[in-house]
């Protein structure tokens, strides 16, 4: 009955993006890297990684949690899958006893991503911050600045154009 086989989580992802990870280590190296990141995410609940690995391993983490919710810890194929993708074995009970109950009544993405600024001077690597939702850490949104760019010269010009356009169209209606 189990159509789950370890090592085959079907995730659609563009081949060009994959190439970046497989460049030096090959397909097996890529899988090892993703397994490491999933374990890190389950243990720390908030991590900072380069975006090209981050976005890809995010999808694997989402799928793993989805399947864990669906089959539970008494399913043979599911346990095999968890054993394959989670390197540090003490995290397997955490997945079923802590994280699955947390998202029991929730649909959709269980993780969220924030873009981080590029380091200057640096090598131009774009990093992201990835976290499991509803964790116990202090929230990121509170630390983010909520500044707007309404006062920049280009935005003032565009707003004035919009007002002018609305005024003109309303005039045409009456005529």
């Amino acid at each position: 009955m189990s159509n789950l086989t370890a090592g085959k989580l079907l995730i659609p992802y563009s081949r060009l993006a994959r190439k970046k990870i497989t460049k030096f280590t090959g397909p097996q190296g890529r899988i090892d890297k993703i397994r490491g990141i999933i374990s890190d995410l389950l243990r720390l609940e908030r991590i900072e990684i380069p975006n090209f690995v981050g976005y890809e391993s995010r999808q694997y983490a989402e799928r793993l949690i989805d399947l864990a919710k669906k089959y539970g810890d008494k399913h043979e194929g599911m346990m095999e899958m968890a054993d394959y993708w989670i390197i540090e074995k003490d995290l397997i009970p955490k997945l079923f006893q802590v994280i699955v109950p947390r998202y029991e009544n929730k649909l959709g993405p269980y993780t969220q991503v924030f873009k981080l600024p590029e380091e200057y001077p640096g090598k131009g690597i774009k990093n992201i911050c990835m976290e499991l939702k509803d964790n116990a850490l202090p929230p990121i949104q509170a630390a983010m600045s909520n500044r707007t760019h309404n006062n920049s010269l280009t935005n003032i010009l565009i707003d004035a154009y919009k007002k002018d356009y609305k005024f003109r169209t309303e005039q045409n209606k009456f005529n």
């Binding site: 500044r147 006062n151 010269l153 280009t154 003032i156 010009l157 004035a160 154009y161 002018d164």
Partner: protein, 328 residues
């Protein structure tokens, strides 16, 4: 007293106008500007030191020791970093008064640099719009060379929401309606200015020298006494007129302006209209639109804005009685 001098100068110019060409007038103004600037520099006999507390790009406060009446905010930025030199358009002295980047500091003070991506770039935007009007004046006077004599009039205070900046001038060309290619030729002249990286220089001069400097321009001669009377009514202490120079071109403006032409991104002269005025008869209104190099905009959006800027701007027409316009 000034008015009598004005009449003398007026009678003097009416004879000369027909013989002078545009380039000769530009050179005349630039020569007087340089002479006055070197004279003011010679007045400084002993170099005194001042303490300037500068806020750098990471909001840390740095203490610099600079020369009084010689070093400018731009020199202070040169001590800190290249980014500050390139991007900062204006300086804020003691948290209240705006200061040109290329105008020497008078006393020990605190400095903060302003740029186009600030949280509230209100003053920088106005300074940019004003300097673009100033550049339009430069274009008109240099573009026609000596073939057509040009009388520059004035430009209104900057209004960004109107969508275009303006310069009013008398072109002395009969029945001319510029084609698209002719306007594009004017716009291309700005890209040469940007490549030269010219700086806006500010100088405060006495009214006598100002009358001498603008003696071939009948509009400006009438404006100088009006500007002085407005300054008196606003009870500004010094009885001086501030003048700006870009390359060889000199014009009256209250300022402040941006630091150099390097900050200009896209610049387009959009249209030229004929307008009727009370004091000056029929003159031409030249309009344009521009965006600083620090801000990016898609060309599709820019073309929409340029379309709007090609319509007649309903800003105040130049009159001697209008105080708001003269104090610009």
């Amino acid at each position: 007293m000034l008015s009598t001098r004005l009449i003398k100068a007026w009678s003097f110019t009416s004879r000369l106008v027909s013989t002078m060409t545009n380039t000769e007038i530009i050179q005349h103004r630039a020569r007087l500007f340089d002479e006055e600037k070197s004279r003011q520099l010679k007045e400084i006999e002993r170099i005194e030191k001042i303490e300037v507390i500068v806020e750098d790009q990471e909001n840390k406060q740095v203490k610099l020791i600079m020369n009084k009446d010689l070093s400018t905010p731009f020199n202070c930025a040169m001590h800190l970093s290249e980014i500050l030199c390139k991007r900062s358009a204006l300086a804020l002295v003691d948290g209240t008064s705006l200061w040109d980047m290329n105008y020497p500091l008078k006393n020990s003070c605190s400095l903060k640099f302003l740029h186009f991506k600030d949280e509230d770039p209100f003053n920088v935007n106005l300074a940019y719009w004003r300097s673009c009007s100033f550049i339009l004046g430069y274009l008109i006077e240099t573009a026609f060379k000596d073939k057509y004599f040009v009388d520059l009039c004035s430009f209104p205070p900057p209004d960004i929401k109107s969508g275009s900046f303006i310069y009013d001038a008398k072109l002395n060309i009969q029945n001319w309606k510029p084609s698209k290619e002719e306007l594009r030729c004017l716009s291309i002249m700005v890209s040469k200015l940007v490549a030269q990286k010219l700086q806006f220089e500010k100088l405060k001069i006495s009214p006598e020298i100002a009358m001498k400097m603008f003696k071939y321009n009948k509009f400006k001669l009438e404006q100088i006494p009006a500007i002085l009377s407005i300054q008196k009514s606003k009870s500004e202490s010094d009885n001086l007129i501030s003048v700006y120079k870009l390359g060889d071109y000199v014009d009256i403006s209250k300022g402040p302006m941006i630091s150099s032409t390097e900050m200009i991104g896209r610049f387009e002269v959009t249209n030229i209209f004929d307008i009727e005025t009370e004091n000056y008869g029929q003159i031409q209104r030249i309009q344009g639109i521009s965006i600083p190099a620090q801000l990016q905009l898609h060309y599709w959006t820019f073309n929409l804005l340029a379309e709007r800027a090609a319509k007649l701007n309903s800003a105040l027409k130049p009159t001697l009685l209008n105080q708001n316009r003269m104090s610009n």
